[in-house]
């Protein structure tokens, strides 16, 4: 038994959980800052971006060192190469949250118009992010598959919010800039869901060896 190697694989798992938690927090706080129009919280999300970037680089270096020193094969090779790909999507999730927080911070928005389901959309996205990291840690392809299907829920929230924003713009009573800001935010949440799908696809590769590719940009 290669005990040092096994400990290193466990360490990789821990690092992925830790970065995953940062991403979840980032999405959750970005959502909270939006719903409460809390600009201080939004600034906090923006400030955390570098921490996520740092974790990404750390995990990349750790994976590259594992590839070099342990020359992994089979499920270990799949797991380490998946982690190496996943951190890019995780870092992008951090970027999207920062983008949301940035819009909240800079916008003149005083109130989110009634009937826009941002809270529900954000909850669905956070669910996808959390579950995709869990699926990796537990190497669970079934959960990963469920996340991929669940993306339809997030997409339908986006379509619904977009439709309502178009309606609001048409009736000419709303501020155009605010509405466009909200459309961008909805799009950032929708993209976050796509990154969770990519993560789920890498989990499936890690477990089964099947490479399904990633969501189109």
């Amino acid at each position: 038994m290669r005990s040092v190697y096994m400990a290193e694989l466990e360490e990789l798992n821990k690092k992925m959980i830790s970065m995953g938690m940062l991403c979840e927090n980032s999405v959750a706080k970005a959502a909270q800052s939006l719903v409460g129009l809390d600009r201080d919280l939004a600034a906090e999300v923006v400030a955390k971006r570098e921490e996520i970037n740092r974790e990404e680089r750390e995990i990349e270096n750790f994976c590259i060192r594992l590839l070099l020193t342990q020359q992994p094969v089979a499920r270990d090779l799949r797991m380490i190469s998946s982690a190496l790909k996943m951190v890019t999507d995780m870092e992008r999730i951090g970027d999207q949250s920062t983008d949301i927080a940035d819009v909240v911070r800079a916008s003149s928005l005083q109130k989110i118009p009634e009937g826009l389901n941002f809270r529900e959309m954000a909850e669905s996205v956070i669910h996808m992010v959390t579950k995709s990291i869990d699926a990796f840690v537990n190497q669970d392809a079934v959960v990963a598959d469920a996340i991929i299907s669940y993306d339809d829920v997030v997409d339908s929230y986006f379509d619904s919010i977009k439709g309502k924003l178009v309606g609001l713009l048409k009736n000419d009573k709303s501020d155009t800039t605010d509405m466009l800001d909200l459309l961008m935010i909805a799009k950032y949440f929708e993209r976050t869901g796509d990154h969770a799908v990519n993560i789920a696809n890498w989990v499936i590769f890690s477990v089964t060896g099947e490479n399904r590719g990633v969501q189109g940009k």
Partner: protein, 251 residues
Amino acid sequence: MSTILDVEKLNLWYGDHHALKDINVEIPKNRITALIGPSGCGKSTFLKTLNRMNDLVAGVKIEGDVLYNGQNIYDPSVDVTWIRKQIGMVFQKANPFPMSIYDNIAYGPRTHGIRSRVRLDEIVERTLRDAAIWEEVKDRLKKPALGLSGGQQQRLCIARALAVEPDILLMDESTSALDPISTGKIEELAQQLKEKYTVVMVTHNMQQAARISDECAFFLLGELVEFSATDKMFSTPTDKRTEDYITGRFG
């Protein structure tokens, strides 16, 4: 992909020890097949059954068939010398004869009745070229082979094996005693050789098996646990025992 060696229900005992258990496998022609597994798993024993190198071991009992191009090499009518000419072997440790480089190569062809100097010169040059050592030794063919470096000696042994024009080359951990540069040369050589020959190699170096073999066989406790395309074995092995071995979760 045609089969050059078809092994059917092969069993081998060393006295009471059942060293190979019901092995069934088809070795494809013009490919590199790697045999992997922990020490004592039977992979070298299996390799030796492919050109009857176990015949001389006291107390050995072999059952089953090894069909070389359809002919059972264990059939009593088969000439063992002919078999070993068709299926050559290179060992872990280079073992050049204590004679010149030229005579090392010419030894086999002479044994098989070739006397013409011109013909022997041609064989010596061609096989040394095939074994990627010609440029290094062409000006010292009459010098003792034992004066060559370890890596050169091993390539000389490969050239010697090629000199009798075999169909198949069996390599038993042929790079395990060499430095990375010599190992690299022999790995490249094996990949070139498969255009003309079939290579079956035993290796303890998993990365080597992954790097150069087309097919891979995993042996454990005398059983052939898994035989599959190398890419598949090292990415998504079918049997848990294979996965546990190649990922180092063994014992």
